[in-house]
Amino acid sequence: MTTFAELLLNGISIGSVYALIALGFVVIFRATEVVNFAHASLLLAGGYVTAVLHDDIGFWLALLAGIGGAAAVGAGVEFLVMRRYRGSNHSVLAIVTIGVDILLTTELTRRIGTDVLALGDPWGDSVLTVAGVSVAHTRIAAFVAAGLLITAFLLAFRLTSWGVAMRAAAENSETAALMGVRLGRVSLGAWAVAGGLAAVAALFLTVFPTPGLERSTSLAAMKAFPAAILGGLDSTTGALVGGFLVGITESLATGYQGDLTFLGRGIGDLAPYLVMVAVLLVRPAGLFGTKELARV
């Protein structure tokens, strides 16, 4: 029972991190209808900036710089690359993001090399034990930080003019333009926000018990793809639910790996995708996605 509780708590915590990543993914998709395959490289960029700077300027400033850096990279990608393709087919744009991802990831992995970079977080490997259930401080911090950011984001999305512009553009970009919404700004903002969220996620993907930021961190970030897709690509609620679902599944599958040996090793990495396939078989538009409706 203790094991189960620990695994569940860890799953919820890592799930909240996946939810952060998936949220950025969904924001870009809603604002521009582009599936952003470059998301993992934004995350890597944010983590890299934090890792490089934390020795000189301290962790918190470095984290801010990482968030700002990833937001700037996101905005830069939108401004320098995506904007040139505006009006192109959305699948063309998705493929452009794959190209951007390859470029960014190649450069970042070249810089990181074989190192494992610490991000200098203040939580270290301390563990909180309550009633026999142990949870790492980093996991609690991840959950709290992700929860705060997600709440702030959703409030902004619902209440601010920025959120109204974003939702209007997502629903019908031409009409939004007729209302005076600057679509370029909306899309720039979406990319920057997604970058910033990814940088925070990068921190919590690389803290204890993970060794640190390494070239394979972007692979871990990839698990947010099934989270976003199974939640329904255009739904913020879906991103949250999907994130938690993937996190918990992964945590439980990894934890009970010993009992699942007939499936071979590494089932934990596979579980998110299995959940995604299972969900999509039943609900092709994802749990909360808008169904494609064709007017007859």
Partner: protein, 269 residues
């Protein structure tokens, strides 16, 4: 609040190789209501897209001519600049943001407004006065409104930007005759408050009653233009757009009666 004049000269536009507008010229005097009539595919919506600069969403472009508002050229601006210049369009088919609440739809309309908070509050009051139902349904999703209410919302949303010129694309399309009538009355009211209106309509009866001047578009060209009452009396317009064939019946059917009859005729389309 005085309306300002729209001046379109020699405007041509097209979608790739397809030419949708040819040398269209149109003048909208200050504070007036001008109607553009024409059947499907005549280029009416293209004309509004060319004014609002949204042709690119449909793969189209302006290929020649100028559009000026208040003496300032609009050609080459982005859609948000056109809104900032004081023109706001109610697109065809209403296009309310169905997943957003009525209140948020109105907020979206104010995004392009140049005025301060007080001006926006005043705009919201004006919209709620014109359409009390929008105040009642503020928290409801726009997609759940009836067609007529959605049209009111679309008009209200455009008014939130505080436009000097309102561009209306087929406001009566798909509405029951009574609702079309109410929308028509509202257009008169909006105009009386000082906002000029460019009304694009297939329903010529309504349009000619509201407008002081009218232009008839056919296959992208202006084929007829003049004061609305003269056009309403012209045989050509009566036959083609008012659905009146019989001369005697036409005489009887003038004014409001004509409007109601032709409404029912056009309702079937």
């Amino acid at each position: 609040m005085a309306g300002a004049a729209l001046e379109i000269r020699d405007l041509s536009a097209g979608y790739g190789p397809v030419r949708a507008l040819r040398h269209v010229s149109l003048t909208l005097p200050e504070g007036s209501v001008v109607a553009v009539l024409g059947s499907n595919g005549a280029g009416k919506s293209t004309l509004l897209r060319a004014i609002s600069r949204t042709l690119s969403f449909h793969g189209g472009a302006v290929t020649g001519g100028t559009v000026a508002f208040d003496g300032r050229p609009l050609t080459g601006l982005t859609p948000d600049r056109v809104v900032a210049a004081g023109l706001c369009q109610v697109p065809e088919g209403r296009q309310v943001f169905a997943r957003m609440t009525v209140a948020d739809n109105l907020r979206a309309g104010a995004l392009g407004a140049t005025g301060n908070r007080a001006a926006q509050a005043a705009a919201l009051r004006r919209v709620h006065e014109l359409f009390p139902v929008l105040a009642e349904r503020a928290g409801q999703r726009a997609g759940l409104l009836s067609g007529g209410e959605q049209q009111m919302l679309a008009v209200g949303r455009a008014l939130m930007a505080g436009p000097k010129l309102l561009l209306l694309d087929e406001p009566s399309l798909g509405l029951a005759p009574l609702m079309a009538q109410r929308i028509a009355e509202t257009v008169t009211e909006i105009n009386a408050q000082g906002t000029a209106v460019l009304l694009v309509e297939q329903n010529a009866a309504i349009a000619l009653r509201l407008a002081s001047h009218a232009y008839v578009l056919d296959v992208g060209e202006v084929v007829l233009s003049g004061p609305a009452d003269e056009l309403a009396a012209s045989d050509e317009v009566r036959r083609r757009y008012l659905g009146v064939v019989d001369e005697d019946a036409a005489a009887d059917a003038s004014e409001a009666v004509a409007a109601h009859r032709t409404l029912s005729v056009w309702e079937g389309k």
